[in-house]
């Protein structure tokens, strides 16, 4: 493979920060106790957990007791949605979400449909956004939960969650509001109180912490039913021995990201703008969704007519540049992207979308290299097309 690796798939997962890897490794080897143990090793591990909770609650501007650690973003979303629906089913059986949510939300909703809940899936505009009015229009007396993602993983659309939260609470204060912030945490200020959110889901491995750890914010007085039953850890809401090293790693990674959030956002936006200026000069290449300051700074979704995304992905990979395809598609089984469909991507373009996602570990040179590779590869690949 080519000498330098340029990783532009940070919305899939990220490289663990070296100091996080160090901390995790130290806990593996030294503070390996079970936080529930009575002895010193347990106390030591529990101290790590407490420290992590304090750090993270500082960032989310909430109380440590509002935080539940999970195994991943998917578990956080599932616990929020299914746990909340089951605990509040006597109040109502109606839930609202959007068509562009991550499968962790959409599939949890499908599960609830099977249990007799009624789900309303809201359409989005061409930029992938849903409006507060759309939500309040279908909000009912018996709506127990609304779930809207903060940042879309595929095209980087940023939903007006604060406005949606305010609108929900104005119309029906009993309705709970869940925000899937997996793509947003670490790249945007996430304060549940300001979003009027009762539940917020976060994942560790999207923010340079290890895989296998997630976080769920649960507001005061919000009732949820646990999904896992066992030793009663975390107030019985999430049994199972805590992933101490992963949790500590997630907290440290978050701390690092939030220390320079504004500067980093500016950097990411500048890289995005710089890249787009070059990429959009390639004939027929266009960007999906909004691309300015009202979009996610780290996600760039490009339409490249005439080139299959998977081929372009492998050709870039050959040059050490790692991106993802908007919708993994193959001759045998097309996997349709719900988001691309919802924003009205024409059928013949579904297979022509690639996504680049940056992180604080990327530099401007990476964007130059990626844009240059695209400018070279796209015309070359367009010479060879199917049938």
């Amino acid at each position: 493979m080519t000498a330098k690796e340029i990783y532009l798939d940070n919305s899939a997962t990220t490289r663990v920060f070296p100091e996080v890897a160090e901390l995790v490794s130290r806990i593996f080897l030294e503070e390996y106790g079970n936080p529930s143990s009575m002895h010193h090793k347990g106390v030591e591990a529990e101290r790590e957990l407490r420290r992590a909770k304090e750090l993270l609650s500082g960032i989310l501007k909430c109380q440590p007791k509002n935080l539940i650690f999970t195994s991943c973003g998917t578990e956080s979303d599932n616990l929020a949605i299914i746990g909340c629906a089951r605990a509040n089913c006597r109040r109502g059986r109606h839930l609202i979400t959007t068509k562009v949510e991550h499968p962790a939300v959409l599939e949890a909703m499908r599960q609830l449909e099977g249990e007799g809940f009624e789900i309303r899936y809201l359409p989005v505009d061409r930029d992938g956004r849903v409006s507060p009015e759309q939500v309040t229009e279908v909000l009912r007396e018996d709506t127990i939960l609304v779930s809207v993602m903060h940042t879309n993983n595929e095209i980087g659309a940023v939903e007006p969650v604060a406005e949606i939260g305010a609108a929900i609470k104005a119309k029906n204060p009993d309705t709970l509001f869940h925000v899937d912030a997996v793509q947003a945490f670490g790249k945007a200020q996430i304060v549940p109180r300001k979003l009027h959110a009762d539940l917020v889901a976060v994942s560790g491995h999207k923010i340079h912490a290890p895989k296998g750890v997630g976080l769920l914010y649960v507001g005061d007085g919000v009732k949820i039913q646990p999904l896992l039953h066992g030793g009663g850890q975390q107030g019985g809401l999430r049994s199972g021995t805590e992933n101490v090293a992963g949790i500590a790693g997630m907290a440290l990674a978050a701390k690092r990201l939030y220390e320079h959030l504004e500067e980093d956002r500016e950097c990411l936006f500048a890289m995005k703008a710089h890249f787009l200026e070059k990429a959009l000069a390639i004939p027929e290449v266009s960007v999906n969704g909004r691309a300015g300051k009202d979009s996610a700074p780290q996600v760039i979704s490009l339409s490249v007519p005439g080139v299959r995304a998977e081929v372009l992905l492998h050709a870039l990979e050959d040059r050490g540049i790692y991106v993802s395809s908007g919708s993994a598609c193959s001759s045998n089984r097309p996997h349709r992207s719900a988001t691309l469909e919802a924003i009205g991507t024409p059928e013949e373009r579904m297979d022509n979308t690639i996504r680049l996602s940056t992180s604080v570990l990327n530099r401007m040179e990476d964007m130059d290299a990626a844009a240059a590779a695209l400018a070279e590869l796209i015309p070359m690949l367009r010479r060879y097309t199917r049938g």
């Binding site: 998977e310 081929v311 372009l312 992905l313 492998h314 050709a315 990979e317 050959d318 193959s330 001759s331 045998n332 089984r333 996997h335 590869l377 070359m380 690949l381 010479r383 060879y384 199917r386 049938g387």
Partner: protein, 411 residues
């Protein structure tokens, strides 16, 4: 119940005349290879036209019978009770105990088939049939004798030891791998080619395989999928040497120079040529493909004629007369189906024309291939040079020779 021994039944190799002993030696080898992966110690022996697997101590019954039932050349596996040569009353008691354990419900029809090979034994075969049958009936009154169509046949063989068995677990049949030589399987990621390889393995061929990949049009996962499929076939055929050839350059050259409706057929002709060249290097006596007549445009009679024309080696197409459903059924039986349907692009599908020719004419194809004259020979050489050699066994794979290519065509 722990059986101490297994009788191996082999139908076809029994009739091979003077070559019989060669086949038997190959079968013993294959059985030993299959048992190597099983827990326990086993001895494989041949005695006067019978093959035995003796277990020495503890073993996992399901694992061992499963392994034996996958060995090509075995028609049936009979789990047996083994006794020393004992006088009749003891023998009868032991047969009764064994029967009682094998059929606890004891309401079946049965007959006894005894063979006395040790002529010094006190009773002959007919006497044993009658006496053992009578004793069993007396001990288990709910049994019925049926000498024509019994539900259970109790076999008793008196040799240097006494073997008793009532069950025959079906084997794959066929001939032991390697007894028919070696052939090169053109392996894609699809459903058909592993089935074709399995079928020819069953006829005694050892397999090498060749896979054509086309980066960046095919992914690393497509290769992994092919390795996984080879691994499944290797459960039956033993180790497969897989050759991974980079085909991109040739494919794109064909795309540029030849009519698009002939792409697939010309591409397949070059695959056959390359496969034959690798086959020559590795001493394979035939090529094997998963083609089935009329399944797709490149598998019509005329298309097959065109692809066949470039090879000197015989091309085995065991699926030629099979419907897709029949192929799928075998693929499910040998357990390759689930892997075959994983959605990764292979190089046969990336540039498929909307309406490929179904009645290509060899002369026309040849004339169009001349448009490749300028560079195709060096490209073939380069492609052969990319040969990545992967040793695939049932339990894993290792790369014997890594890709040497710096083949970075201008896509």
């Amino acid at each position: 119940m722990q059986y101490q021994s297994f009788l191996i039944k082999y139908a076809e190799i029994g009739v091979k005349g003077k070559n019989r002993s060669d086949f038997e030696v190959k079968l013993v080898d294959q059985i030993k290879i299959a048992l190597r992966r099983c827990e326990g110690k086993f001895a494989v022996s041949r005695k006067s036209g019978r093959m035995f697997v003796d277990a020495e101590g503890e073993y996992d019954y399901g694992e061992v019978t499963g392994a034996l039932q996958r060995v090509f050349g075995i028609a049936g596996v009979c789990p047996m009770k083994v006794l020393p040569v004992v006088p009749y009353p003891e023998l009868s008691a032991a047969v009764g105990d064994f029967f009682g354990e094998e059929y606890p419900e004891r309401s079946v029809s049965f007959k006894v088939v005894a063979r006395r090979l040790d002529k010094s034994y006190e009773m002959n075969s007919q006497e044993l049939d009658a006496a053992l049958g009578g004793d069993l009936l007396q001990r288990y009154p709910s049994l019925r004798v049926d000498v024509h169509r019994p539900e259970v046949t109790v076999h008793v063989e008196i040799r240097d030891r006494i073997y008793v068995y009532t069950r025959v677990l079906p084997g794959q049949g066929g001939l032991p791998v390697g007894s028919a030589g070696k052939a090169m399987l053109l392996l894609s990621g699809g459903i058909d080619s592993p089935v074709a390889g399995w079928m020819m393995g069953k006829r005694g061929l050892k397999l090498d395989a060749v896979y054509f990949n086309a980066p960046p049009y095919t992914s690393e996962r497509a290769l992994q999928k092919v390795i996984d499929i080879a691994k499944i076939v290797a459960r039956y055929t033993g180790t497969i040497v897989l050759h991974n050839i980079n085909f991109t350059e040739i494919q794109l050259y064909i795309y540029e120079k030849c009519p698009h409706d002939e792409l697939t057929i010309i591409m397949r002709r070059y695959m056959m040529r390359l496969a034959e060249k690798i086959a020559a290097r590795t001493d394979c006596g035939a090529l094997i493909t998963g083609e089935s007549l009329g399944q797709v445009a490149s598998q019509t009679l005329r298309s097959l004629e065109c692809t066949n024309a470039v090879c000197r080696l015989p091309v085995f197409r065991p699926l030629i007369g099979f419907d897709k459903e029949e192929i799928v059924a075998i693929s499910k039986k040998i357990d390759s189906y689930e892997t075959s349907i994983l959605p990764y692009e292979d190089c046969c599908t990336i540039f498929v024309a909307k309406h490929p020719v179904t009645k290509p004419i060899s002369d026309v194809i040849e004339r169009h291939e001349h448009q490749l004259d300028e560079k195709i020979d060096e490209m073939m050489e380069r492609a052969l040079g990319t040969d990545e050699i992967i040793i695939v066994t049932e339990s894993g794979h290792r790369i014997l020779k890594a890709r040497e290519d710096d083949l970075k065509p201008g896509y």
